[in-house]
């Protein structure tokens, strides 16, 4: 999640925008529930508070729906991207929100043989929102990972991008 947020913000930066990414600062164990925040703007970002009214929420682990309410504060008409094998209608989310789903963990298992959905979700985000370009997603991935791992992650992002574009 922390990685996904940083990659997302980096991609926005690579697209020439201002961006800011920060985690909620807890004990950082890989896989533990954690929220990360990203702001993207045309202007320099000065605000330091957490985000209480997001435009977009990415739910990287759909099993968290029971533990916390990831939609708390989401603006009316806001977008939710959920990592799940289910279809949007099956999630029973309020119709005032726009819901998209992506089976990111399944795709990650196929490509990495491990449940690390970060870059799959990044590709899906680029495809659904258009807020970041695929070129920038690739740049962010290449910056973050060594060549061999980067190649797999780009494959993961592209697969998700194509999937959401239908």
């Amino acid at each position: 999640m922390v990685t996904a947020a940083n990659l997302l913000a980096f991609a926005a930066f690579a697209d020439g925008k201002f961006a800011q990414a920060f985690p909620t600062f807890g004990s950082e164990r890989m896989g533990a529930p954690v929220a990360s925040f990203v702001r993207i703007d045309k202007e320099k970002i000065r605000l330091r508070s957490q985000i209480y009214e997001p435009d977009i929420v990415i739910v990287q682990d759909s099993t968290l729906f029971g533990a916390i309410d990831p939609l708390n504060g989401l603006k009316k008409g806001g977008l939710i991207i959920v990592n799940t094998k289910k279809e949007p209608e099956e999630l029973g989310i309020d119709r005032k929100f726009s819901v998209r789903t992506i089976p990111a963990t399944s795709i990650a298992m196929e490509i990495f043989k491990r449940p690390i959905p970060n870059t799959v979700i990044l590709g899906a985000f680029a495809g659904i929102t258009g807020e970041i370009s695929m070129g920038a997603v690739k740049e962010a991935i290449q910056k973050r990972f060594e060549a061999r791992i980067a190649k797999l992650n780009i494959e993961a992002a592209e697969r998700a991008y194509k999937m959401v574009k239908g």
């Binding site: 940083n6 913000a9 980096f10 930066f13 690579a14 201002f18 961006a19 800011q20 990414a21 920060f22 985690p23 600062f25 970002i45 000065r46 605000l47 330091r48 508070s49 957490q50 209480y52």
Partner: protein, 389 residues
């Protein structure tokens, strides 16, 4: 070159370009990423420096003290209990006039244990004789280190500098940072060239005992030099602006103070959020401004007096408390404001202790409360249900 990096990485890269000869640190959250990144830079051979691993912050401070006394450029970083464990050595460093640069990744102090941000750690050692600078964002924090060495190593100054950056809020945030080239930093920052240092060729003793007939003079000299360093801090900030084209202020920074009835005063990353609120309130016709304290020690008394001279209402918003008295910055500012009339409209707020999030709404509420009457030592957003009945 614009890079999108973590605050800690930015500080590590900038410190690396200052080419410290000796680095010693002990890991503590949220300082850890800074020294991990520096250790990596040294291990990768990008920086020729002695990175000395130690068993405690006390040892880390002692190592840089000894190294600095030999004329080496030195660096260390810590947080919270780590800074407090260093406290004894911090006083020695300042007393011996060693120009060490230290990053304090600001974190609350135990008990109860909190790894999250406030300013109680660095505030607690404000009287040690160190220059203390507070960073607003990651660019600012990184830039301050280059300036810190230039200020510290001036042979007329020779004082240690503590760069304070909010733990997690800055250290763990990713945002764009303009990273200079090593050549640009070399051109700005001259080599450390002390007149007095330990060498076998010319044996000396440093850190001596001073009996009652001479101790006080050393403290007087330290006090005076801190005052004199203000000029050097301003000069360095101006040179930096001229060379690199950016500034985060000098001793203080004015933000829309002209014509402001209400002025907020704060230090560190909260200034970013306050600036956003000031902009929004100004758009709504409210005359609000911000005075950011960039340098807390030496205390910019004259600059504060001048900046606040026309304000009807003043809100001092801070992340530390002098237990048994109140807000530290508030107490200091009240002490330097000219007369009781000027002080009548001063309110002070304690906010964000132990990492409690600070929202725009919190700042708006602070402005409203300040306008409607002086408030003293208000702890913002206290949850009374957590207290015993």
């Amino acid at each position: 070159m614009q890079k999108f990096i973590e605050g800690s990485r930015a500080v590590a890269e900038f410190v690396g370009m200052c080419r410290p000869d000796v680095i010693s640190a002990y890991p503590i959250t949220p300082q850890t990423h800074i020294v991990e990144e520096l250790a990596q830079i040294v291990a990768d051979g990008e920086l020729k420096s002695q990175f000395i691993n130690v068993e405690s912050e006390f040892a880390a401070a002692s190592v840089v003290l000894g190294a600095s006394a030999t004329g080496a450029r030195t660096y260390t970083a810590t947080s919270s209990q780590g800074l407090l464990l260093m406290a004894e050595v911090l006083y020695n460093i300042a007393g011996m006039r060693l120009p060490i640069v230290l990053t304090c990744a600001n974190r609350a102090v135990s008990a109860p244990i909190s790894i999250w941000n406030d300013h109680q750690d660095s505030i607690s050692v404000r009287d040690s004789g160190w220059i203390q600078l507070y960073a607003e964002d990651n660019q600012d924090a990184a830039d301050m280190h280059i300036q810190a060495y230039k200020i510290a190593e001036d042979n007329d100054i020779l004082l240690p500098v503590m760069v304070c950056m909010d733990g997690f809020i800055l250290t763990h945030s990713f945002e764009p940072v303009d990273v200079p080239s090593p050549d640009e930093v070399d051109a700005f920052l001259p080599k450390f060239n002390p007149e007095i240092y330990l060498t076998a060729k010319n044996p000396l003793s440093l850190g001596l005992m001073a009996p009652p007939d001479s101790y006080m003079e050393t403290r007087f000299a330290l006090f005076k030099t801190l005052e004199e360093s203000k000029e050097k801090i301003v000069k360095t900030a101006r040179e930096f602006k001229k060379t690199f084209g950016r500034s985060s202020g000098e001793l203080v920074e004015h933000y829309k103070i002209d014509g402001a009835d209400t002025v907020l005063v704060c230090m560190g990353s909260i200034a970013g959020t306050v600036k956003v609120v000031v902009d929004e309130l100004r758009q709504g016709g409210k005359k609000v401004g911000l005075l950011k304290i960039r340098c807390h020690r030496p205390f910019p008394e004259e600059e504060i007096k001048k900046a606040l001279s026309k304000a009807k209402n003043i809100a001092i918003v801070e992340k530390a408390v002098s237990m048994g008295l109140g807000g530290v910055l508030a107490t200091e500012i009240k002490a330097v404001l000219p007369d009781t009339n000027a002080r009548a409209g001063v309110s002070n707020f304690i906010i964000g202790l132990g990492g409690r999030d600070i929202t725009k709404k919190d700042i708006v509420n602070i402005v409203d409360k300040t306008v409607s009457g002086p408030v003293e030592n208000e702890f913002v957003n206290i949850n009374l249900s957590l207290l015993d009945e």
